[in-house]
């Protein structure tokens, strides 16, 4: 399934950047690990009413960090972002509406 693309098409994109150095990636991984630790701490530390928002925000931050940096989406052609975020936004929208019809978000 690999395509026989010529060098010009892909090398242009590569020269753009492999912006992050290995050290940079390790830094990102450290941040992700720290956020994970913080997430787990919510089980042991009482966050009060902040519990759910904090957890969800941390989840979203980790998600976006992996997508933007590890998956390189931030530095790549915007078409890839469009493709992926279209699916993501659609999924969140449709399934949130679906759960809403079951009164999932009403206490």
């Amino acid at each position: 399934m690999t395509t026989d693309t010529t060098h010009t098409a892909t090398s242009a994109e590569h020269s753009e950047n492999h912006g992050m150095s290995d050290a940079g990636y390790i830094r990102i991984a450290a941040i992700l690990a720290a956020i994970t630790a913080l997430e787990v701490s919510t089980v042991y530390v009482d966050f009060g009413p902040l519990f759910l928002p904090a957890l969800l925000i941390m989840m979203v931050v980790k998600f976006i960090m992996v997508v933007s940096y590890f998956m390189h989406l931030k530095f790549d052609n915007k078409l890839f972002s469009l493709m992926f975020y279209a699916g993501l936004v659609l999924a969140v929208g449709v399934y949130a509406a679906f759960l809403a019809t079951f009164k999932f978000f009403i206490q």
């Binding site: 399934m1 279209a86 659609l90 679906f98 809403a100 019809t101 079951f102």
Partner: protein
């Protein structure tokens, strides 16, 4: 100098001795015979294979429909018992939706998208072949159930818990669910393939807003497929797990909510109906301008309304569930969104009518079918608008009024568009034109038959005939002349008129095949790029990839505006344009090579699903086939290296398909 060495009709067999093996198989090389079809990765051959297979399933689904109509032709029908009737309407709908309309659209898309954008094939040719074989094997798998214990019987929408093992103990639904998973993967891979092709492989100069409108509509369809197929995949897995592995998803005693199935199914199901109709909208948008001698009116509006339909179509699904107990808030929201989606469709209808307005109309068969679509789809759309009003839908739902609606939009819309495309593009695909006189009979019998069949169903629905009712008694029939019995009889007669119309199409195909008369190069004086090729196109499509400067590029190569009179004057004939292409042909063209792996991998899938139903050992064996094929595929380059073919004295080159001398 570059001269076309090979005639299209006569493909001199290439002597080839592949040197590399992948797995245990050397790659196939035959250019003629059955192997040229079974191992092909050529989008045109695959398109034809999709079309032929889809037409076969159209007949199957049609026979299923005729049996239903025979059963309902009179009170106390004895043609089908209740159980068989359930299987019949389930399989009729499943076959028509998944095994006829969708693959037929895939066939047109496969054949014409690369040609319309000036490409030589799609982005992933082997995956394209995989898609076709998965569709074929999936379709066969679903229908195996007829012979092994009975077909699926829960309706094409398969509501839970009726679909569970308690109420439907035969294997029919398992064949249905697993078979649709296979065809679903076919749709998904096809969608990825075409999206990448359209975004990445357009000819130089062809911006998105210079793309032919059929390609635009099909691209919207591919995005719909890309995002909708996973949803039904989830639903089918939940169903299969419930039926085969004891999951409790739809088990009310465990606290399950049967609406889970309905939501998941219709979140897929509503985009699905746009998947079914947008291809026909695309075809009609191509046909009308050609036979009105005018460009498509409001091309940007047609494009954006297509995208809008694709987008808004995700927000309306629960209008299929108005009577399910959703509650007033949900019902109101979905009622409003459903009304909204009528707008972009209305925009298209207006643009089509304005395309014809003031044009010099040519009433070819293709044109008649397209005009038929405008009229009959609008009828279906109007009944659809009445459904969007939730209170009135509460009366209409689950009655024949709904059956009338969706047959007007699916048959009047989807099917008529398909037939328009067949008559329009037949000369391009086969080098011959379908007989127009027979086409006229074909058209009128289909239209009359269709209206006789589905028109009365509006009345029947309002008279109270429910869906999925296998039989009605004299008493149930009601009083007076125009009762159930009367209108059902009219509908049944209509269905046979319709069947004769379709038979005429098949006869037309046979007669045309036997007729030696070739079609002219540009029989309809067309506008878009696929017509700037021979009939049928050469294997490599274009001798030289065209540079595109206009929307309707082919038209603008034939005509330009006379600055003095401001009318269009001809500057070149199609023949002259083709000759110039040949003079400037590329010397060396590498086409993707045929491969075994798509059909082998595809074959593994029904083996897995058969095993899931009957024997897990067989399933493992199927998985091994898939695994082995995946490896062979990954290791095989998409184009065979030159070393795979030895030089033949008479052939000027070593590539499987080369134009001209090096």
């Amino acid at each position: 100098m570059a001269i076309i060495e090979r005639e299209i009709e006569v493909m001199a067999p290439m002597v080839a001795t592949p040197t590399s093996t992948y797995g245990v198989l050397k790659r196939p090389v035959a250019a003629t015979g059955w192997r040229a079809w079974v191992f092909t990765v050529d989008h045109k051959k695959l398109g034809l294979m999709y079309g032929v297979t889809a037409m076969f399933f159209f007949i199957v689904g049609g026979v299923e429909a005729l049996l239903i109509r025979l059963q309902l032709a009179a009170p106390n029908g004895k043609v089908l018992n209740a159980d068989l009737y359930n299987q019949m309407f389930t399989m009729h709908a499943t076959t028509m939706v998944f095994l006829f309309v969708m693959p037929m659209a895939a066939g047109f898309a496969n054949y014409f998208i690369p040609l319309q954008i000036g490409a030589r094939d799609v982005a992933f040719p082997r995956m394209n072949a995989l898609g076709f074989w998965m569709f074929l094997f999936g379709g066969i798998f679903i229908n195996l159930s007829w012979f092994i214990g009975g077909a699926a019987d829960g309706g094409w929408f398969m509501y839970a818990p009726n679909s569970g093992p308690v109420f439907s103990p035969t294997h029919g639904i398992d064949f249905w669910a697993f078979g649709l998973q296979i065809t679903g993967i076919a749709s998904l891979t096809g969608a990825i393939n075409l999206i990448v092709t359209v975004l990445n492989m357009r000819a130089p100069g062809m911006t998105l807003m210079k793309m032919p409108i059929f390609t635009w509509m099909m691209t919207v369809v591919q995005f719909l497929l890309l995002f909708a197929v996973p949803v039904i995949t989830v639903a089918l897995f939940l169903l299969s797990f419930q039926r085969n592995f004891g999951a409790r998803f739809f088990d009310v005693a465990a606290g399950a909510d049967p609406l889970l199935w309905q939501h998941l199914f219709w979140i897929f199901g509503h985009p699905e109906v746009y998947i079914l109709v947008l291809p026909s909208f695309g075809i009609v948008s191509e046909v009308l301008p050609v036979f009105s001698r005018k460009p498509l009116f409001g091309y940007p509006f047609v494009v954006f309304s297509g995208a809008a339909i694709g987008f808004v179509g995700w927000g309306v699904w629960a209008h299929h569930m108005f009577a399910s107990g959703l509650g007033p808030v949900s019902v109101a929201v979905f009622s409003l969104t459903t009304m909204a989606i009528a707008v972009p469709t209305g925009v298209k209808i207006i643009n089509w009518i304005l395309t014809m307005w003031g044009g010099k109309l040519v009433f070819s068969t293709a044109m008649k079918f397209s005009i038929g679509l405008i009229v009959l789809f609008t009828v279906g759309g109007l009944s659809g608008v009445t459904h969007s009003v939730a209170p009135s839908d509460t009366q209409q739902t689950d009655t024949y009024y709904i059956v009338a609606h969706f047959h007007y939009v699916l048959f009047g819309g989807g099917v008529l568009g398909i037939f328009s495309g067949l008559y329009y593009w037949w000369p391009k695909m086969f080098g011959k034109m379908l007989n127009e006189r027979l086409g006229n009979w074909n058209f009128w019998l289909m239209v009359i038959g269709m209206n006789l069949t589905f028109g009365p169903m509006h009345i029947l629905g309002l008279q109270g005939q429910p869906r999925r009712m296998y039989q009605f008694t004299e008493a149930r029939s009601g009083e007076g002349l125009f009762n159930f019995a009367f209108w059902n009889l009219v509908a049944s007669i209509g269905s046979f008129v319709l069947a004769v119309g379709i038979l005429l199409f098949l006869i037309n195909v046979v007669i045309t095949a036997r007729n030696p008369t070739k079609s002219p190069l540009d029989p309809w004086n067309s506008r878009s790029l696929e017509w700037m090729t021979s009939n049928p196109p050469k294997e490599h499509n274009f001798d030289v990839i065209p540079t595109v400067h206009h929307l309707d590029e082919f038209f603008h190569r034939k005509y330009e505006e006379d600055p003095a009179t401001h009318t269009m004057r001809q500057i070149a004939t199609a023949e002259e344009i083709m000759a110039e292409q040949e003079r400037n042909a590329d010397a060396h063209i590498h086409m993707p090579s045929p491969s075994y792996w798509p059909i082998v991998l595809a074959f593994g899938l029904p083996v897995i699903t058969f095993g899931m139903i009957f024997s897990h050992l067989i399933a493992v064996f199927g998985a091994v086939i898939v695994f082995f094929a995946a490896f062979g595929w990954a290791l095989e380059p998409s184009t065979a290296p030159a070393s795979d073919f030895e030089t033949n004295n008479s052939a000027p080159s070593t590539e499987l398909d080369t134009v001209g001398k090096s």
